[in-house]
């Protein structure tokens, strides 16, 4: 889990001028995956730590990513039984609303608390891209567990 979160952080910190703000949030996708698959290990403390590291790397106000991530993790844990009943595409259709709501909350709270308005409206497209990317993300993150499941029994 830690390795995948660090890799997601590195992905989010890649300079991407062609999709500066509206690109998918790899860290949020990875936190969502682990909140669904390993809720006992994906607490709000870990979410806060990872989000603050992302804010520092991006030069953003500390805590703004955490605000969105906390409620994504909350939603994923709350509705994990229902979401996991679907395949990756069905999951994406559920999760896109969660991501959109969390990002909207982040924008609203930052506007109310800090007074900053959003300057890059393309950011609001990020949940859509995340939903499109979710099946691939889910398959990649699940792959080591599938690999372990098919390992010969004599290997520990």
């Amino acid at each position: 889990m830690i390795v995948t979160l660090l890799a997601a952080l590195a992905l989010d910190l890649i300079p991407r001028p062609w999709m500066a703000v509206w690109g998918p949030e790899a860290t949020l996708l990875t936190l969502t995956f682990w909140a669904l698959r390993a809720p006992a290990w994906t607490g709000f403390g870990l979410t806060l730590l990872v989000s603050i590291a992302l804010d520092v790397g991006r030069g953003a106000v500390l805590g703004q990513t955490a605000l969105a991530a906390i409620w994504v993790v909350w939603g994923a844990q709350k509705w994990r039984s229902r979401v996991l009943w679907f395949g990756p595409l069905g999951q994406a259709a559920h999760l896109v609303w969660l991501w959109a709501g969390a990002l909207a909350l982040q924008v609203a709270v930052r506007w109310l608390v800090v007074g900053d308005g959003i300057v890059a409206y393309g950011y609001l497209l990020a949940p859509l891209w995340m939903a499109l990317l979710w099946p691939l993300w889910y398959a990649v993150l699940l792959w080591p567990q599938r690999w372990r499941a098919v390992m010969p029994k004599h290997r520990v």
Binding site: A20, A53, G59, A60
Partner: protein, 283 residues
């Protein structure tokens, strides 16, 4: 074992706060962190510490781009390189002539100031910096450069490119600094209209636009006028080119609406210059 003895209660039967309560508590922490950082700037030590830890991740993320740049350099077209070389030689000659003229004007200016008993103008040195990346933060127009407090950078310094002002250093970490572009809504730059000497404040308006406001005295500005820094804030050097007046609207308002297009509006810089005051240059 007694009822309520938490130490003896099996782990699976212990009750903790509900998921929603914990989410609200974490939200409170996040909002408190936001306020402490954005409003009071209390978390600078935390940011500095975490930035050093995050730096390897940023470097790892940039590694493919560095490799790509290296490959591009090794496979560059020789003919294009020769053309670029010739153009650069021509520019060097032109700039050399301008430097001689500038140095002569500077000496004359210093002599005249000494005759009049004025204090000498503070010197400025140029510190080259590489743009690491544009901040993907949707709330800001910032870029991150590879020079920090370890290199003598301080908050407030002006950052320029070849044609003029780009922005201002607004946050400094040990290894990197953040530069807020002058088009950011919160940026205010004291400027002078070069042709008439009219002074005012340039307000960032986002989306690559600037507006001239808060003019002292009578308005005297026309389309095509060049706008330079006035240096009255003590942060920016005097006379640094900022932009050109592209639109003046006299729409019945008390003050005309004057719009300025920055000279450096591409937002695709790779190298920039930080204008470091002499006393802040690292030894």
């Amino acid at each position: 074992m007694t009822v309520g003895d938490s130490a003896a209660t099996p782990l699976s039967f212990r009750r903790s706060l509900s998921l929603t309560t914990r989410a609200w508590l974490a939200t409170l922490v996040a909002v408190a962190v936001m306020v402490a950082d954005a409003r009071f700037d209390w978390l600078t030590p935390l940011r500095d510490g975490v930035s050093v830890l995050v730096r390897p991740l940023v470097a790892a993320g940039q590694w493919p781009f560095r490799v790509w740049e290296m490959l591009e350099r090794t496979t560059i077209d020789v003919v294009a390189l020769q053309k670029e070389n010739a153009e650069l030689r021509r520019q060097v000659l032109t700039l050399s002539a301008q430097i001689w003229e500038g140095a002569a004007a500077r000496r004359e200016n210093d002599r005249l100031r000494a005759l009049l008993g004025f204090a000498p103008m503070p010197g400025t040195r140029l510190l080259p910096a590489q743009v690491l990346y544009d901040s993907p933060d949707p709330f800001s127009r910032r870029i991150v450069i590879d020079r920090g407090s370890n290199h003598g950078i301080q908050p407030g310094l002006a950052v320029a490119a070849a044609k003029g002002l780009v922005g201002q250093v607004t946050r400094v970490q040990p290894l990197v600094s953040e530069v807020t572009l002058m088009t950011h809504e919160r940026m205010r730059i004291p400027v002078t209209v070069a042709r008439t000497g009219m002074r005012g404040i340039l307000w960032g308006r986002g989306e690559g636009a600037l507006q001239l406001r808060d003019v002292l005295g009578e308005w005297s500005v026309a389309e095509g006028d060049e706008v330079v820094t006035s240096g009255l804030d003590g942060l920016f050097p005097t006379g640094l080119p900022v932009g050109r007046v592209t639109r003046v609207e006299h729409g019945g308002q008390v003050e005309p609406l004057v719009f300025v297009t920055p000279f450096e509006a591409g937002e695709r810089w790779r190298q920039l210059l930080v204008l470091v005051r002499d006393e802040t240059v690292a030894p």
